[in-house]
């Protein structure tokens, strides 16, 4: 075999008929249990004392996780054109594919004759969104994306968790990012 298997714990079946008096006395097990748990305790205590690992609890809305994966599906953003208007052409693809039906779009006529349509209303109900990322995949002009961050995903009631177009729009794509795969939708 080409692969190397590590050394497994290899649990042995412990038949109920083969219990010994030593097992029944339970003394040995207490010793073993104290040994294992205190090993963990002192290892963690030493780490904590030397500032190598802080607590694992994060007070969520105030604190953010620093180690989130860059692929994490977090907050939605609407991508802007260079002049600051949304790149979205109100084609309704994201609203159609959304399994939770949480996107509401109303279209209006755009000033630009080539673009034709733009969203007048673009609401995402964050309290109903299941963060599946299908809207990002469905968009034919790369107008909606998801950031890894989970900040600002909280609200005191469910009506405050409906994000409108301008809340979603405040993000500016960096440098030449709006040129997608050689095609510039501007």
């Amino acid at each position: 075999m080409s692969y190397q298997l590590p050394d497994f714990p290899d649990m042995n079946y412990y038949d109920r008929k083969k219990r010994t008096l030593l097992d029944q006395l339970y003394v040995k097990e207490i010793g073993r249990g104290v040994w294992i748990t205190s090993k963990h305790l002192f290892r963690n205590l030493f780490k904590w004392l030397t500032f190598r690992k802080g607590g694992v609890v994060i007070l969520y809305p105030e604190e953010q996780r620093p180690d989130l994966s860059p692929n994490n599906r977090g907050r939605h953003v609407l991508v802007q054109r260079r002049n600051g208007s949304p790149r979205c052409v109100a084609c309704q693809m994201c609203a159609t594919v959304c399994p939770a039906s949480c996107i509401t779009i109303e279209a209006e006529e755009s000033d630009d004759a080539i673009i034709q349509k733009r969203p007048k209303v673009f609401n995402i109900d964050i309290s109903r969104c299941i963060f599946c990322g299908f809207c990002v995949e469905a968009c034919p002009v790369d107008a909606i994306r998801m950031l890894p961050t989970t900040e600002k995903l909280v609200g005191y009631n469910r009506f405050k968790m409906i994000y409108d177009r301008d809340t979603l729009l405040h993000w500016n794509p960096v440098v030449n990012d709006d040129v997608v795969h050689g095609y510039n939708p501007i």
Partner: protein, 418 residues
């Protein structure tokens, strides 16, 4: 209080005869049984399930198990979403093994279409399924430990599980509800160094498992609470339609991965562990052994997997076209719109496909009427079958034994009630 009719086989003398192992002080025959209601939201029950136990003294003489409090209309929702956009719902069946549900669901549709998945995709799906199975078994084992009073192994298991879940986030974008499968492939390729890190994480799980074994294996309190409690015979288990670790703990070596090999399970070496008595301890043992076997499969997958290659099949009838084609060509754009608005249209017909989920055989029965939406989709949920046999294994035990028994059958509400 109204007169309660106790069926003859549940009379205390009969119960005592059937369970000679119990030498419990039972109230004198003729005492009226007391009804005790557990659930649906009881702090000691995981999952929303209601149990009405009839007790004589501390012994349960009759029990009525009522699942269904987590019913969300899964099957109805599948009938009004197109095939791809219904995928996130399958994540929420058994929410600990979302990968296995995802892959089972898309494999059913692929079978209907006749789509062949690529080599690399099949290996990745095998790897993800096994990692998912490991996390599910961790969760179940942790629950058993904490229900018996051992909080430390619970935390060790959770730590090990969290390492794997965090690592999933780097590949899929979510910790738990991945929505990672697509018809004919996967949502995206994994990052470059993902596999090597995965190997390290799995290796670092092994010392933790050793510690847990050290704490639990010969612990008399644990053995007393699990051995001889919740026994079921092979015959009863088969008659109730139970599969998975529960069935294997009674000594039947039925595993869908061996019986009807799918993905790459016939190209890796592993064995099916079986138990002896079908009690709580055997279920614990089987799950531990399965964690080891799954770890073996994972290491083999990582070794044998082709490191490069396509992950999506080039059959365009079901999955979205690649983005450059959508942005640049009109054909790609129309294809994209068609698939999203109407959904991919499989041929008419019915199909059944089953995979081995963490609790047993998870099957999808699909009736297609040729449109982009399922006419009917039924899920054969493994947990639902175990609920049918739960009264058999609980009767005759004490009230306090319900919790470890219920923990070790690992009922997952999302999957059982759909």
């Amino acid at each position: 209080m109204a007169e309660l009719e106790i069926p003859a086989k549940y009379k205390i003398d009969e119960v005592r005869k059937r369970k000679e192992i119990l030498e419990l002080p039972i109230a004198s025959p003729g005492d009226e049984p007391i009804k005790i209601n557990l659930g649906p939201s009881h702090p000691a029950m995981h999952g929303t399930i209601k149990m009405i136990a009839e007790m004589v003294g501390e012994t349960i003489v009759n029990i009525d198990v009522e699942p269904g409090f987590l019913h969300r209309g899964f099957e109805k929702m599948m009938e009004n979403h197109t095939y791809p956009s219904a995928l996130p719902y399958t994540d929420r069946l058994n929410y600990v093994t979302a990968f296995i549900n995802n892959f089972g669901y898309v494999a059913t549709i692929e079978k209907l279409f006749g789509i062949e998945i690529t080599e690399r995709c099949a290996w990745l799906r095998t790897l993800f399924s096994e990692l998912s199975r490991i996390t599910d078994h961790y969760t179940c084992q942790a629950a058993i430990c904490s229900e018996i009073g051992a909080m430390t192994p619970f935390l060790y298991f959770m730590q090990a599980r969290d390492w794997i879940w965090e690592h999933f986030n780097w590949a899929t974008g979510a910790r738990q509800t991945y929505s990672y499968a697509r018809i004919g492939g996967l949502a995206r390729d994994i990052p470059d160094d993902w596999l090597d890190k995965c190997k390290e994480i799995l290796k670092s799980n092994i010392p933790l498992l050793k510690d847990i074994h050290g704490l639990m294996d010969k612990n008399r309190i644990f053995l007393d609470r699990t051995q001889g409690v919740g026994e079921i015979s092979q015959e009863d288990a088969i008659n109730a339609g139970i599969t998975g670790p529960f069935l294997r703990s009674t000594g039947v070596g039925y595993d869908v991965r061996k019986a009807l090999p799918y993905l790459k399970y016939n190209e890796v070496e592993w064995e099916v562990p079986v138990g002896k008595y079908g009690d709580n301890y055997d279920r614990w043992f089987i799950r531990n052994r399965e964690i080891e076997e799954s770890l073996k499969i994972c290491f083999q997958c990582i070794e044998k997997m082709p490191r490069t290659g396509p992950i999506n099949s080039d059959d365009y009838q079901a999955h979205l076209p690649y983005k450059p084609e959508v942005y640049q060509t009109i054909e790609g754009l129309i294809n994209h719109f068609k698939i999203i608005i109407e959904g991919p249209k499989p041929p008419k017909g019915t199909i059944y496909h089953c995979v081995e989920a963490a609790n047993g055989e998870l099957g999808f029965f699909l009736v297609s009427d040729g449109t982009g939406t399922a006419y009917r989709l039924h899920v054969r949920a493994p947990s639902f079958m175990t609920m049918g046999a739960l009264d058999k294994i609980i009767i005759g035990h004490q009230l306090a034994d319900i919790i470890p028994i219920f923990g070790s059958v690992n009922m997952v509400g999302g999957e059982c009630d759909r």
